[in-house]
């Protein structure tokens, strides 16, 4: 079976779409022993991420087993995760100077 998403580390909170995915789609992502199936709450473009679990506002979001930023709001499993609901503390505040929208 072709996988629709890639999970890069067993600790991750997000998986990445390997194709454009639609709302309501049931998507499985797996790495090693871990296998997570979620129903997408909204569409997720190719290369973008969706939440594998409910993430509370303020929690770190892990990809590659490492924090890519913190949740700006509660994010439900199956939701698209991107600059609208996840931000990096370290570089994010520089966005005005560098044109960074994250």
């Amino acid at each position: 079976m072709n996988r629709k998403a890639i999970l890069l580390n067993g600790q991750d909170d997000v998986a990445t779409a390997l194709a454009p995915l639609g709302r309501g789609e049931l998507v499985e992502a797996a790495v090693g022993e871990r296998r997570v199936e979620v129903t997408l709450l909204e569409k997720v473009p190719f290369g973008h991420k969706y939440a594998l679990r409910d993430i509370a506002a303020g929690e770190e979001v892990l990809k590659y087993g490492l924090p890519i930023g913190k949740a700006l709001e509660d994010i439900r499993a199956g939701a698209w995760v991107h600059v609208h609901n996840c931000r990096s503390d370290r570089f994010g505040h520089r966005h005005q100077k560098y044109g960074v929208n994250a």
Binding site: N2, L8, A17, F46, G47, Y64, H82
Partner: protein
């Protein structure tokens, strides 16, 4: 896989057997290129594409490349009036036991006489190189680099982690693996410091990344833009982790800041360019930097489809299925099954590792067959 290397008088063992043609100034580059085209199969060309003044950095690098494990000997070409003395470069190479000859164009008497003298010297050195003793190499003897260029979303998701996983396998076999591009490790200082084998290495990588971050903040030139966000990257950290994915999972043994500092050590390293030693630019510079640090070969991940080669064999990986249709002629390892969702990283990493061993054993890469010389 049986790997038969070429023994050098200084104890190194190479996976290729080339005579180096080295130019010490822009003015001798033309003649050096002519000579490279006369003996394309058996020579490698590089040099210092600069002016008259002597600069230590580039000369160190050119010397390191002349003393690379794949270099059996050298012809060093100068114009004669520049600060970098071709005889001294040849002497530094000869000091390792490799035969080296220097010719200065304005002493020899112009292009034609220089080409005559140099080509005669090359014939002799190439024939001598062909008698190099062959010795068996183990995977533990290999030093391999990983570079990304022309990256896209598939680089961080598939090809970069794949090289990291293959690097892990090489280290498990006792070998040495490195990547570079500290400027693309924004926000990775803590992670890498935790992986460092001791406090000194932890401080070293922290200092290297912090210096690079500072330069980015001050210069306002982060490698970050709307294309990244549209492509699905949420933060600079996420983009950097895509680059860091080349690092695999092994402890960080050291940061290589000067050529020769690897000194036979094994495991995972991050390599940097010696300050002021840039002899080329962009990705060819990265490949040749690996060579100067002692890499036998390099993996090179690309998403957009870079065709770069270099002084060492380059295993070109591509994971973008759309791009593969355009650039397959230049690709050595097809990582698209990961992005098509047909295969996993874990399944494909051993295949990439086997490809490393095959190239070490003599399998030619596309850039070698095409005859790339970025010099």
């Amino acid at each position: 896989m049986r790997i038969l290397g070429y023994a050098r008088p200084d104890g190194q063992v190479g996976i290729r057997n080339k005579v180096s043609i080295i130019y010490t100034v822009d003015c001798s580059r033309f003649v050096a290129q002519k000579l490279k085209l006369m003996f394309p199969e058996h020579t490698q060309l590089f040099g210092y594409p600069g002016g008259c003044g002597f600069q230590e950095g580039p000369v160190n690098k050119v010397t390191a490349l002349g003393n690379h494990s794949s270099s059996a000997g050298a012809v060093v070409l100068g114009l004669g009036c520049e600060g970098t003395d071709a005889y001294k470069v040849a002497d530094a190479i000869a000091a390792t036991g490799r035969p080296a000859e220097a010719i200065k164009i304005n002493e020899a008497g112009g292009d034609i006489v220089t080409i005559e003298k140099a080509s005669r010297a090359l014939v002799s050195l190439i024939q001598q190189a062909s008698t190099a003793e062959r010795v068996e190499m183990a995977p533990a003897d290999l030093v391999v680099g990983s570079e990304c260029g022309g990256s896209d979303a598939t680089s961080g998701l598939a090809s970069n982690p794949l090289t990291g996983a293959a690097g892990d396998l090489l280290i498990e076999a006792g070998g040495t693996y490195m990547h570079e591009e500290v400027s693309e490790l924004m926000g990775c200082a803590d992670v890498l410091a935790e992986r460092a084998v001791n406090v000194e290495v932890a401080d070293d990588i922290r200092a290297a990344i912090e210096a690079s971050e500072k330069a980015c903040f001050e210069g306002g030139r982060f490698s970050w833009g709307y294309g990244n966000i549209e492509g699905g990257l949420t933060s600079i950290e996420e983009k950097s982790y895509g680059c860091l994915a080349k690092s695999g999972s092994k402890p960080l043994e050291g940061v290589l800041r000067t050529y020769g500092s690897l000194a036979g050590r094994k495991g995972y390293f991050i390599s940097m360019s010696e300050p002021g030693s840039g002899t080329f630019s962009g990705d060819p510079e990265g490949i040749n930097q690996f060579a100067a640090h002692g890499c036998h070969l390099a993996m090179f991940t690309t998403g957009c489809g870079s065709t770069t080669g270099g002084l060492i064999p380059v295993i070109k990986l591509l994971a973008n299925p759309n791009r593969m249709q355009l650039i397959a002629d230049n690709v050595d390892f097809d990582a698209t099954p990961i992005v098509r969702g047909e295969r996993t990283l874990d399944e494909m990493a051993p295949e990439l590792y086997q490809e490393i061993l095959a190239v070490a054993a003599g399998k030619l890469t596309k850039s070698e067959i095409h005859g790339h010389f970025e010099a």
